[in-house]
């Protein structure tokens, strides 16, 4: 039992924090957000140079072979700066998925080649691979004769992908994972900004050529692999949320100490003090659960893993909502302006609560899994 991070981990987080503070200022981020693409290749390359894109890739494929704890430390540090680049999609979920789907059958050479081709590119920042899976509306994509047809909605960072990994229903009723080049014929991609300033895309496939990359869906292996990769993503998302909430609370505390009303700093008013205490309670509970999520997200016991991750998402989703709303409330009108980072944290926290299944969904899943257990 030990909650301290080791020196290497601390150094990693420090590096990322310094990078964000220096190279990802509010103004810089705004310029990136308002650019045509909505993200920066230059920043992506800097992240590659820092080594953080290689973090979640094994050494065999040019990576550093770290785990969810380190991914969490990095995401936590990104939080305060609200990184717009597709780190979660491209550097956390995609490698975890490629690792899991394309190596399910030992000795599968094609799969092995796929890993060898793409993982080093991801680690070096040379390629962005994005998973396009079902959203809550369950819009389906089906495969026939090596071509995909159907639609994927609100695919986070789908527009910046060099390669899409698309889950699709196969002729035998199972799930297959297919590599699709976004520019290929039969792929229509509509890229747009989301609430949090990031990007998403709706993608329509109309007999789009696709290469199957999973090793077959025996015993739902592909579906499970996708869920496992998404759970690793969810744990990283929880860490990002904690980083944002910490920054939000710090900024609000500062504001309460300086903002004067009725002849004193408003932080002297007990009702506001207690609100801040409640926000801190939410933060500390959320932080605890982000550690739990990091620890359990790679577990082989699916029920235990999903139960823990649902518990984490409930705690973190509720904290996101409470802290975001009250930080704006305590800032008064200032909290509503686009000019302060605060409103951008608010929007990202709002988006996080709605991503990967909302609080009610996870609360009910937790109840179900707890009763079954």
């Amino acid at each position: 039992m030990n909650f301290d991070f080791n020196e290497e981990q601390m150094a990693l987080q420090d590096t990322v924090r310094r990078f964000i503070a220096k190279d990802y200022t509010f103004e810089k981020r705004r310029a990136i957000r308002d650019s045509v693409a909505g993200w920066s290749r230059e920043i992506w390359q800097s992240l590659a140079d820092l080594g953080v894109l290689a973090l979640n890739i094994d050494e065999e494929h040019g990576g550093l072979g770290y785990g969810p704890q380190e991914a969490g430390l990095v995401m936590d540090a990104f939080g305060a700066g609200l990184l717009l680049e597709p780190y979660l999609a491209g550097a956390v979920i995609a490698p975890a998925l490629i690792r899991r789907t394309t190596s399910a059958v030992p000795g599968d050479t094609a799969a092995h080649n796929f890993q060898e081709e793409w993982l080093p590119k991801i680690a070096a920042g040379k390629a962005i691979v994005v998973l396009a899976h079902a959203d809550a509306r369950g819009t389906a994509v089906t495969e026939a004769n090596g071509k995909l047809s159907g639609r994927k909605a609100v695919v986070a960072h789908g527009g910046c992908a060099d390669l899409l990994l698309v889950s699709a229903r196969t002729a035998d009723g199972g799930t297959g994972l297919f590599a699709v080049t976004p520019g290929a014929e039969g792929v229509a991609l509509h890229d747009y900004p989301t609430l949090d300033g990031q990007r998403a895309a709706d993608i329509i496939f109309d007999k789009a050529p696709a290469q199957r990359v999973d090793a077959g869906d025996t015993a739902n292996a592909t579906q499970h692999a996708i869920e496992a990769a998404l759970d690793i993503g969810l744990a990283a998302l929880c860490a990002e949320a904690v980083g944002i909430m910490e920054a939000t609370i710090a900024a609000t505390t500062d504001y309460l100490k300086t903002r004067q009303q009725f002849g004193q700093p408003i932080g002297r008013f007990q009702a506001l003090q207690h609100r801040m205490a409640d926000m801190l309670l939410h933060l500390e509970q959320a932080r605890s659960m982000s550690y739990l999520a990091a620890m359990h997200c790679t577990s082989e016991d699916t029920t235990a893993r999903q139960r823990s991750l649902s518990a984490a998402k409930v705690t973190i989703g509720q904290a996101c909502r409470f802290i975001a709303q009250n930080a704006v409330q305590l800032h008064g009108g200032m909290g509503m302006t686009d000019e302060l980072m605060l409103s951008h944290w608010f929007k990202r926290l709002t988006a996080i609560e709605m991503s990967f299944g909302d609080t009610d969904m996870h609360l009910q899943r937790f109840a179900r899994l707890s009763r079954a257990a």
Binding site: G332, G333, M336, T337, F346, K347, M354, D360, Q364
Partner: protein, 384 residues
């Protein structure tokens, strides 16, 4: 005790409902029904339609061109307008400066300004808040110095809602810097076209331009634009704050938005989720209760005139309900709430839901934050 409306009141409700159904332009209704912001012209258009019918100033007495309605009729009118998708009345002229002019303005001021408010020929905005004075209005710093028959005004106002459309601004200004807080304040009407007036947009988190900063640099304001007496402005300001709070509960709008929430939730199949259904039921129940509470306050007003501290109860619950509805609408569409101001992504009704949720956060901040309202309740009602 009788919680029913009278037959006359019900007939009046029918009349308003028919009027709105027949006279409200469809493009405006569609925007309102889907939570889309209106532009200046659309607001003006509707106000002129109302004015033509003699309903331009629902809260106004007959002597100033209003219909002279009782509170219940005003309530019915606002409820039916909201239900039918009519724009919210432009309150800055009709509900804020007009009552002040009626109570404290000179006959000349009343004749000069009131008709143009009714006819939507002049748009007003509010110059109360300042960067250093949000909740603490009395600490206003904008200075007005009398020079001959003009005041020279210098200072900065902020959170000026729809100030970009305004022809006039009513301002709290400090005319006696020596006096204690409330007692050195005056109430001035300033032409927005005056040299030295600059309006700068404040973009809010939903990407909207609703509020502004208004800079006043050596603005010359004729002394006849002073309301009442110099240094007595705080009295008029408080009077205005009382009147601002009519219909503060926003029952009509909340009912319309609740119906929208239920349509969306039904379309998304979310009412089959027992937790979501319970959340919708909770807000619906809260709204039923608040409507009765609101009617109780209206009923008490018949004898007591201005809204008392009970209005703070209506403000808090009313804004909580509207915020809860906005939150649930966003929640109902799940991932499709994430696209930001994208009308061509997802179902039609999804496009404004996240920005609507963001925008509605203002409700518990503006018009006296809910924390200030709780101070008022605990001090004025409970005597703590």
């Amino acid at each position: 005790m009788d919680l029913q409306f009278s037959p006359e009141e019900n007939a009046f409700r029918e009349e308003v409902r028919r009027f709105v159904a027949e006279q409200l332009p469809a493009p405006i209704r569609d925007k309102v029904m889907n939570g889309v912001h209106l532009n200046r012209d659309e607001h003006v258009q509707w106000q002129r339609i109302l004015h033509q019918r003699g309903w331009g100033g629902p809260g106004w007495p007959k002597e100033f061109g209003g219909p002279g309605w009782m509170p219940a009729e005003q309530y019915i009118f606002e409820e039916e307008c909201a239900a039918g998708g009519a724009p919210r009345l432009i309150s800055f002229g009709l509900k804020m400066i007009a009552p002040v002019l009626m109570a404290f303005g000179s006959p000349e001021q009343q004749q000069r300004y009131l008709p143009k408010i009714l006819a939507a020929e002049e748009w007003w905005c509010q110059g109360y808040s300042e960067p250093g004075a949000g909740s603490d209005l009395a600490s206003v710093k904008t200075r007005a110095v009398k020079e001959g028959d003009h005041y020279i005004v210098n200072g900065q106002k902020t959170w000026t809602t729809l100030g970009q459309y305004a022809d006039w601004i009513f301002c709290l200004v400090r005319t006696d810097p020596e006096a204690k807080k409330q007692s050195g304040i005056s109430f001035l009407l300033i032409d927005m076209k005056s040299p030295g007036v600059t309006v700068r947009p404040i973009i809010t988190l939903d990407g909207a331009h609703e509020v502004n900063e208004v800079w006043l640099e050596d603005v010359r304001v004729p002394v006849e634009n002073l309301i009442g007496e110099e240094n007595k402005g705080w009295t008029y300001a408080k009077f205005l704050l009382g009147h601002e709070r009519t219909n503060i509960a926003g029952i009509g709008i909340a009912k319309r938005e609740l119906a929208r929430l239920k349509r969306i939730a039904e379309a998304e199949g979310r009412l089959d989720d027992p937790l979501f259904a319970a959340r919708v039921a909770q807000v619906e129940i809260d709204l039923i209760a608040l409507e009765i509470t609101n009617l109780r306050v209206l009923s008490a007003e018949r004898t007591k005139k201005a809204p008392g501290p009970e209005a703070s109860i209506l403000k808090i619950k009313g804004t909580e309900i509207q915020q809860a509805i906005a939150e649930l609408m966003m929640q109902a569409v799940g991932p499709y709430a994430l696209p930001f101001r994208q009308e061509d992504v997802g179902p039609d009704y999804a496009a404004n839901l996240a920005t609507g949720y963001c925008n509605q956060r203002k409700l518990s901040i503006f018009g006296g934050s809910n924390e200030i309202q709780k101070n008022i309740i605990s001090q004025m009602i409970l005597g703590l």
